[in-house]
Symmetry: C2
Subunit: 285 residues, 2 copies
């Protein structure tokens, strides 16, 4: 029996918690948290993502401080906008939507975001805090995965966890977060030999490889928890990095695509924005 | 047949390379690199370490800019010294010898060291650069281990590597460095269940657990490369985290204690100091 993990309902719980936290903050301080999403240009996929983030932010009672910059904005102008947001006490969190047009230096722009407002958890400063196990803002998708695992009662302490994929956005911080929860963590990737054999040892398998249906039944230990971070459109249908049909009946828990990890990302963005606002309040900002 | 890894001779090679690099830098720029070791108080073990580092630095042609602060130095005074060193163009690298007296906040003091002068590679900024796979100064001991592995011709790409111990100083950065070299990396630690079974899968096993003779023959795959980072005095003899006698004949390569990893740490400190001076030169400092 494979239990599907209901990411939509767990994300809804997180959003409700955030909305309650926002209301408390408003009662205590008068001002709600503000989220500054920054979109450069008119990439249709980015526009969809940004629209969802802004709607979720408003829905949670936060202030939408969106900035839309023209596709031909200069590095200097983009820097100036980020610096202004960094210094603005009404801005609790800054999210620079990636990818950027190729003439911009994304790394240099991300570096303008202060660690305390980096609600995407992508700056080098927050990567360092995570690597050292110190408090900081964590990347939204892996933080959402931990939330799913906790909500499903999956024991992480002492568990064998395998993360497939080593992206800065998901795989690497995922491994760090699982380590912080006392799992024995293996990070596998494109150079891993005999991937199925490595995955077979996992009590908890998180797949963020970006390859449709990479993981089949031969790579899943019976009863393991399988989290599928991938999402791809193949022949008109949405599929993940896991072959869900093959793995059903082998895995103990499985996060479906869609409706598994996906909804958690925006929910954790809201949670990060609230946490950032709370910390800034403590510091008297 | 187990081949012992001769850390002393490999460290001597590194030191000779650094001395040659220093001579080149002096020829090009006139000024040699300067290393500011900072010792607080009179802990005898720390004094021994600092003496070795200063001697190695001078021997490589660098300038010894040591500072000795009294055991009762205030946080503010210690900060002021680090800030002065941070701003001094003659100082290529700063090394704050740990542990500090308990009245000082080590984390806050380390944070005063600019990433570009952090030749111990211990600041959060350098941990973030390492976690993101970006250029930066790496912690000396794990960097020394990679050097040993390379010098012995151990293939890391696609190898199964297991690191035992998750300290900020060794285990965590070690795992990152092995990942950067395309190994499939498992980080095991005190909460790992059945440690021997986990270690048995390793082509490359790095043990930095701080427990004398933790790893026996039952934890080593025949032919594996075993790197022992531990050093302990037990019944008057120096031993590592690996039971060397038991593992001899099973491991393919083994780093002995003493004479394995130990000599590499100071050698890599010198290499970091030279690299820092070279980078600062490029920036026109």
């Amino acid at each position: 029996m494979t239990t599907l993990i209901d990411g939509r309902s767990i994300a809804a719980e997180v959003r409700a918690e955030v909305a309650a936290g926002v209301a408390q903050l408003v009662a205590a301080r008068g001002a709600p948290p503000g989220l500054a999403t920054v979109l450069v240009g008119d990439d249709p996929a980015s526009q969809v993502y940004i629209r969802s983030k802004r709607a979720a932010c408003t829905h949670a009672g936060m202030v939408d401080l969106h900035r839309h910059l023209p596709v031909n904005v200069s590095q200097q102008e983009a820097c100036a906008v980020l610096d202004e947001l960094a210094g603005d006490p009404a801005v609790s969190g800054i999210l620079l939507q990636l990818p950027l047009p190729p003439h911009l230096d994304a790394e240099a722009l991300l570096a303008r975001i202060p660690a305390a407002k980096d609600v995407d958890g992508l700056t080098t400063a927050n990567a360092g805090l995570l690597a050292q196990g110190r408090p900081g803002l964590r990347p939204c998708t892996p933080a959402g995965v931990v939330r799913l695992l906790d909500r499903c009662g999956v024991e992480l302490r002492g568990a064998e966890a395998v993360v497939v994929g080593r992206s800065l956005l998901v795989g690497r911080p995922m491994a760090q977060l699982l380590l912080q929860r006392d799992a024995t963590v293996t990070l596998a990737h494109s150079r891993t030999r005999d991937l199925a054999r490595v995955c077979l040892r996992a009590d908890v398998l998180v797949v963020a490889a970006g390859i449709p249906q990479l993981i089949g039944a031969d790579a899943v230990k019976p009863g393991a928890t399988v989290i599928d971070v991938g999402i791809h459109r193949v022949d008109g249908a949405l599929v993940g990095d896991v072959d869900a049909r093959a793995v059903t009946g082998v895995a103990g828990h499985l996060s479906p695509v869609p409706g598994g990890v996906g909804p958690m990302t925006i929910a954790m963005l809201l949670a990060n924005t609230l946490a950032a606002a709370e910390e800034q309040g403590k510091l008297g900002a």
